[in-house]
Amino acid sequence: MQSTIIEAIDAVAMQEPNRPAIDVLGQVNTYGELKAASDAIAADLAVRPIAAKTPILVYCDQSFAAIAAFLGCVKAGHAYIPVDTHSPKDRLTMIEDIAKPALVIATVPLPLTLHTPTVTPEQLQATMQDGAAAPAPSLQGGDNFYIIFTSGTTGQPKGVQISLDNLASFVAWMADFNLPTQAKMLAQAPFSFDLSVMSLYPALTAGGCLKVLPKETTADLRQLVTALPDLDVDVWVSTPSFIEMCLLDPTFDAAHHPNLRQLFFCGEELTHKTAARLLDRFPAAELFNTYGPTEATVAVTAVRITQDILARYPRLPIGYAKPDTTLRLIAETAQQEGDRVIGELAIAGPSVSKGYLNRPNKTAAVFTTDRGVQAYRTGDLGYIEDDGLIFYCGRTDFQIKLNGYRIELEEVNHYLNLAPMIRQGVAVPRYNREHKVAALLAYVVPADPTVDPATLTTAIHEHLQGVMMAYMIPSRFEFKDSLPLTQNGKVAIKALIQEVNA
């Protein structure tokens, strides 16, 4: 399996070194440059006194250097942990504490000093140019290839370990979608979000080109619609939320983007409304809804959304399981609801992670084996039709998806309750008609009830921005004298969710 990922990318470099591999808003780097830079990074890592197979934290933007660093780590036998530059400082130190990386590689300056020895952006650039040859490959199929941290309860992120075998299973499946030859694939998601993997390796292993839209562009609607007309991609990969922004541009359609052939969505629910809008704009394109947790390597189900599917299902299916993988309902959770049996979905197959890095208890709680195959309890509720088509119906717990980001309400609550201006606080999702979380609200009992709401909102916002990811911060605060409690004395979150969504 060693050959599957790295050797496939290097093979392109050897046959066609001048082929474009990465295009960041017109700044192009070739496969030859990618091989030279990643070989040199691997050579540098190989002579450092770091233990074999220990992970390396890569603090990165959406750049050529970031991808070269990922491949360099793997070529030296180390998994990489991508941490996006938009992460708060606390998250960086927490990931360092949990992962105990051997080294940090920074493609942009770190916002703080970590304990771990660090390769600075300047040192990295120098290494990338030094022309050193890569060490002999040492990463085995079961070894970690990357580790992506998801949010965790009480502020402790969990590092999902994805092995070379896990990734190879995913990449082989993506090749089955009949992607255009040497596809030009949109790379929009930051590398700490595993949706980015859906473009990264399917493109590079097939001689394709990653068309990067960096966060600086996508965060500003005006910049985005300015960049869109020049974006020449034939395969689109994004969250549904992201393409909704693009739909605001009336020229984002088949007439202006005639090469756009396939669109893949993952990371959050694709609503009927958005899919209908897309088929209207791109009637001849193939539109795929896909589903999967980070713990099972990006995505494990897919279905092409056609006019026929739109006509048949008001809430869209998430697809059929990939051929090497089984999805089933966990028996003890299955319940008859009307003419359907709904239960918690479990995934078993070769792309299921071995578990969370250095968190045996968390791993044991959700990972198991099913007839000898690695399996994961998703916490997602669903039902499966007789022909194997799978539908998602919500969460078993208080985890939500907002704008493609996985958020555990308990984690938001944890930070709310640590804020000095809050006596007690609880995050409450507001759902729209399409069953999507439209907004995250917070019900708060202020520490000082005499402060006016606007001042308090501003103060809480400023405080939370320093300690938590921007996407987790509630958009609106409702101030109360007290919060409703359950019989056990806990905040009655379910009652609040019902109140907000009444």
Binding site: A219, L221, R222, V225, T226, S241, E244, M245, L247, L248, D249, P250, K273, R277, N403, R430, N432, R433, A438, A439, L441, A454, T457, H461, S475, R476, F477, V500, N501
Partner: protein
């Protein structure tokens, strides 16, 4: 105009969970009610419901910051 206002209130209610018909001059951005993703949803909703196209490249947030301003802007684009 009343139709447009009602459409704006309905869209905002669906997005934020709050009925703004009693507070049509609340600044939705200053209070953190609308973030950029909500704004996208609001504009897409106006596109669908009223058949207007918002020139995003000229989008000026100050012209869209209250329910009343949104309704006025939408009417001017019809």
């Amino acid at each position: 105009m009343d139709n447009i206002k009602q459409t704006v209130f309905d869209l905002l209610k669906d997005l934020t969970g709050t009925d703004f018909s009693a507070n049509p001059d609340e600044n939705l951005f200053a209070t953190g009610t609308l973030d950029s993703m909500d704004t996208v949803q609001l504009l897409l909703g106006l596109q669908d419901e009223l058949g207007i196209t918002v020139p995003v490249s000229e989008f000026d947030r100050s012209e869209w910051e209250t329910p009343n301003k949104i309704a006025a802007k939408a009417a001017s684009l019809q």
